[in-house]
Subunit: 228 residues, 2 copies
DNA sequence: GACTCCAAACCTGTATGCAGCTTAAGGATT
DNA sequence: AATCCTTAAGCTGCATACAGGTTTGGAGTC
């Protein structure tokens, strides 16, 4: 085959792509909470580039629905509506079990080590909660799980829904800190068991279970009185 | 709620977004078969704009994996690898049944009329096959079905996988013309029945069934000897 | 004749300038 | 004092110019 010859240049990301990842992460991490206005000129100054790559980056993530750009006004980070949150979570509930069934890659020694490290870090949160650290641990966990997915399409979708759900979910986490920390430790405990047994299917179902829990928390603390 | 006030400007698409849709359609319709080089300057001249909106449009569809841009070389339409095709089809097989289960919108009179029109047009193909018309009918069918999906996330994913699968699938259709035309008529017949009964769930399963058939054809005629 | 090396052509990536749109503030009028 | 209108500031959308990278073809050499 002529394509996929990435031997010479493995992953030389262009400036715009790097910025794209950074901006998306900032939205997910609530560094840019909903309502934040992303000014191209401002970001350009921060990254030391012109407006062009900034525009590229924002344009590339626009399909996730997390930002809205209007001419003459600006680009603002939008909070997903209650209906959209429901849609994303309903989808994640369906996708989770597929993680283990759609040609996953094998679990390596490294995966187990990462899992253990995450559990250690999560335990610390139970005694001294830190919203930022909670977000980072969760993010690393999702990087790990996503990497287990062998089906590229599912991997892409799984990551897309994670990004869409993240900011809302992290918003709740700041309200129910201890509860969330304990839930994370429990989840990581189960995941480590599955990792050691090499059972990716189990990981899928564990995810499905805990997404359900998270969904319930969001419904309780955020969507309780909102309408359609 | 403060957002979603599209009353004043319903859908004023920017130039780049219009071009984005057009380019993506050309890729799906095989107007740009795999290997085609998309030169920004050339497209800019055709659409009567500068390179900037063209770049925007291409950048926005890059996440589908249908194009690959390399600095100094150009942007080329890529054929999905055998593994990627498998991934996309495996995913579509899973997504199809969800069409009817994840909060679909109701079926209207208009939907039934569109379905009937499509069936009429498809029947013509059985006596006089025309690859282009086959593609267009299929496209209109997918627009219809996608519009039935109430869950926005699923709708987005369903459309993404359609775009990814389309060009490969249409490539096969040009080889097995009569077989494909008859299959389309059969599919549309079933779909019209489901439409008249107002049963979106049935439509999901009909899709699932016929995607399976299409997958088999692709495996037989395209992936038979290719490796991983 | 075959091979090497260099240069020109061509493409994308980025910077910058301008036009159009939106908003908000301030002054004039009622 | 309230309201309307004008004007200026700020942002995005687009056009254009330049820089960096890649390929290709031909001249020169062995």
């Amino acid at each position: 085959m002529t394509l996929s010859q990435k031997s010479t240049a493995p992953d030389i990301k262009t400036t715009a792509e790097t910025i794209q990842t950074e901006i998306l992460q900032r939205i997910c991490f609530l560094d840019y909470p909903p309502g934040t206005q992303l000014k191209e000129a401002e970001l350009a100054a921060e990254f030391g580039v012109s407006r062009t790559p900034i525009r590229d980056a924002i344009g590339r993530i626009s399909h996730l629905g997390l930002v809205e750009t209007r001419n003459g006004v600006g680009t603002v980070v939008v909070a997903l509506s209650a209906a959209q949150i429901r849609h994303v979570y309903d989808m994640r509930l369906e996708l989770a079990p597929m993680i283990g069934t759609m040609s996953p890659r094998g679990i390596t020694e490294t995966d187990c080590e990462i899992g253990q490290t995450l559990l250690q870090d999560a335990k610390v949160l139970c005694s001294a909660f830190d919203s930022r650290k909670y977000i980072e641990i969760n993010h690393r966990l999702h990087v790990l799980i996503t990497s287990l997915i062998g089906n590229g399409t599912l991997r892409s979708f799984w990551w897309q829904t994670y990004c869409q759900a993240a900011s809302t979910w992290y918003l709740v986490s700041s309200q129910r800190d201890l509860e969330m920390a304990r839930a994370l430790v429990a989840e990581l405990g189960e995941i480590n068991t599955a990792l050691e047994l090499g059972d990716v299917t189990a990981i899928g179902f564990i995810q499905r279970t805990h997404i359900g829990y998270g969904y319930q928390r969001i419904k309780t603390h955020l969507l309780s009185r909102e309408g359609e």
